[in-house]
């Protein structure tokens, strides 16, 4: 490790305010992005479709939820329902002959329109009620989707996604679907990275920290809360469309139940509220920890001949989500992103610890 801040002198505000002021960070980001782009050549189809693709999609969804929970400080327990609205709207639009790009936007708009209604109901009162209203939204949207045959095609039905083209490329095969998800994920990530530097981002931060203080300095609390809801729901709707087109390939109501919402909330908390990097970490941990843990338990029970029931193994993911949420809230409320930041800060100035700011 070398003293990476050596010789870096910012002479303009522009250079100091760039996203990654340190060349090391820039190189790291570029390297990881390059790795993600060439990933279809490097890893097998199983890993691409089974691990990387869901990771990219769920990270994007976690980013959308994190914008609301971390950026604006509003809790949302019904993000799965928001994604369901986007998924169903876009799939129906595509089936009606709309191009995929427009259908995705349409899905986002539908999610935003419905999501903002539930947000508006609860924003008159405090965050506690918002949790309840969004929980109610989850159940109501589930009910409406599965009970209106025009939307779901009946309670037990699944709707196939027809063959589609994204930006002129047919979305078939693992590589194409992966690149489509990656493209959307990149756009959302860039949006999230930059929003903090805009007036909107600063207004949201003010609302999050103290709403009446924000009101005093002239930031309309209700307006910005609703705006945050709108943007977050829009992202959720678009990600729902991506999830339907790239990963699920056929939508049915039970794919967007409360379990999905819980998964996403767990990702945001475990990753770190308000952290972009954290959303990616959180998505990776929540998606893959149950698999790894299950394999470990399975290996142990085989090796030591322990009588571990299939019931227990089937419930490992839930126990793990809950335990991770509790553990991180108690011991590291800022999540994996904070752990990464601590390690990074330590090595950033190593071995000149006195130089740490």
């Amino acid at each position: 490790m070398f003293y990476r801040r050596a010789g870096i002198r910012h002479t303009t505000y522009r250079s100091e305010r760039q996203l990654w002021p340190l060349p090391f960070d820039r190189t790291l980001v570029a390297l990881i992005f390059a790795l993600l782009v060439v990933a279809p050549l490097l890893v097998g189809d199983l890993y691409l479709a089974g691990y990387l693709l869901p990771w990219v999609i769920w990270s994007t969804a976690a980013l959308g939820l994190n914008f609301l929970m971390g950026g604006a400080g509003q809790i949302h327990l019904g993000y799965g329902a928001v994604m369901a609205i986007g998924a169903y709207t876009s799939v129906h639009l595509v089936r009606a002959g709309t191009p995929l790009e427009i259908a995705m936007i349409g899905g986002g708009l539908a999610s935003a329109a419905i999501g903002i209604v539930f947000g508006a109901a609860a924003l008159r009162v405090k965050g506690l009620y918002l949790a309840m209203a969004t929980l109610a939204m989850q159940y109501i949207v589930d009910f409406v989707i599965s009970h209106v045959p025009a939307i779901s095609g009946g309670t037990q039905a699944t709707i196939q996604v027809p063959p589609v083209r994204f930006l002129g490329v047919p979305v078939v095969g693992n590589a194409a679907t992966y690149y489509m998800a990656l493209a959307v994920g990149t756009i959302v990530t860039l949006f999230m990275l930059n929003i903090k530097r805009t007036s909107l981002g600063r207004a949201l931060a003010a609302v999050r920290e103290k709403d009446y203080a924000a009101e005093v300095i002239g930031v309309g609390t209700l307006r910005y809360k609703l705006l945050a809801f709108w943007i977050s729901s829009f992202i959720g709707g678009v990600v729902g469309a991506v999830l339907a087109v790239c990963y699920l390939r056929s939508v049915s109501p039970d794919q967007f139940h409360i379990e999905l919402s819980i998964q996403l909330v767990a990702m945001v908390i475990v990753g770190g509220l308000g952290s972009i990097l954290g959303s990616f970490f959180g998505a990776a941990l929540i998606l893959f920890a149950p698999i790894v843990f299950n394999n470990i338990i399975g290996g142990l029970s085989d090796a030591l001949a322990l009588p571990i029931s299939t019931d227990l193994r089937a419930h490992v993911p839930l126990v793990l989500y809950g335990a991770l949420i509790i553990g991180f809230l108690l011991w590291e409320p800022l999540g994996l992103a904070k752990i990464y930041a601590n390690v990074r800060d330590y090595f950033l100035v190593w071995p000149f610890r006195h130089a740490r700011r």
Partner: protein
């Protein structure tokens, strides 16, 4: 739709509503003392039912003893949850504490079926199955007993609130620092509120478990309990009683009237609609105090 069928639905719904209200009473107890909504209440009810089943069938204890043991154990569990998890969240934003209870709910929902097996367990507390006839109305005996027991437990908790200890709890809910300065042990009041909430949840869990069997779906009581707690105003025990009756009757009537039209499943969405309507029309519920936030 004739009058008798509606009346029957309303009576049975009211009794079921009282059984929901028992879970909501715990949420209200905790909200009154510590100002946070306990999203783990459904899972705690489920845990109580699982423990009762485990003591009764695992250790072969008689049912009455098993119930008492489970109540005592769950009181301790409530104290422990407060001591080990919630107390450490003091000073954090209240939303963090709520998410902690959500994490607890998720974990218990996985842990208990995982440990005890996810198949539905039969919990027989000795309530006969034969229905009761009150004039022309046919009343489910299990819900009748359950509703009466729930009403009694809720009224007992109302009496606790009027006792000396209840005054402590109300003082704590009003202003923690001020209660501290006059010598009230704030931590103890909050801890006991958690213990009592766990006990009421356990009673509800046992009643529901004897009704529909013990499995993870008992934790779904949470959404009904939240609807009742919000409609009742979150900090009023009489409100819980009234709101429980309203939610129970509404749910039963909606199931009876709309289920044949939309093809089932109405029962689960009534609570959500009630939550949303309450927030839209009267956010502080029927009996809740309007809080004026201090700057």
């Amino acid at each position: 739709m004739d009058f008798f069928l509606l009346g029957e639905l309303a009576i049975n719904g009211a009794l079921v509503g009282l059984m929901y209200a028992l879970v909501a009473a715990g949420i209200t107890l905790i909200y009154k003392t510590s100002g946070l909504a306990n999203l783990a209440q459904g899972a705690i009810a489920m845990m109580g039912a699982y423990l009762t089943w485990a003591v009764a069938s695992g250790l072969g204890a008689p049912m009455a003893l098993a119930v008492v043991l489970a109540l005592v154990m769950m009181f301790v569990v409530g104290l422990l949850i407060e001591r080990l998890a919630l107390r450490r969240m003091a000073g954090q934003p209240v939303i963090m504490a709520i998410m902690l209870t959500l994490g607890l709910e998720i974990m218990l929902r996985g842990l208990l079926p995982g440990v005890f097996g996810s198949a539905v367990k039969r919990l027989d507390v000795g309530i006969p199955q034969a229905p009761v006839f009150a004039g022309e109305f046919l009343i489910n005996r299990a819900t009748l007993y359950g509703g009466v027991i729930s009403a009694v437990v809720i009224i007992i908790s109302m009496l606790i609130f009027n006792s000396r200890f209840g005054v402590f709890m109300r003082a704590v809910s009003d202003d923690q620092t001020a209660s501290w300065s006059v010598g009230i042990r704030v931590e103890r009041a909050i801890a006991v509120a958690w213990g009592l909430a766990a006990v009421t949840a356990t009673v509800a869990g046992i009643l529901w478990g004897s009704n529909q069997g013990v499995d993870w779906s008992l934790s779904l009581l949470l959404i009904k309990a939240l609807a009742i707690a919000i409609l009742g105003g979150l900090d009023s025990i009489p409100g819980v009683l009234v709101a429980g009756l309203i939610v129970g009757v509404a749910e039963s009537l909606a199931t009876g009237i709309f289920d044949p039209i939309v093809g089932g499943g109405t029962r689960d969405v009534v609570a959500s609609v009630i939550i949303l309507l309450t927030l839209l029309i009267k956010p502080h519920g029927l009996f809740g105090r309007e809080h004026i936030e201090r700057v």
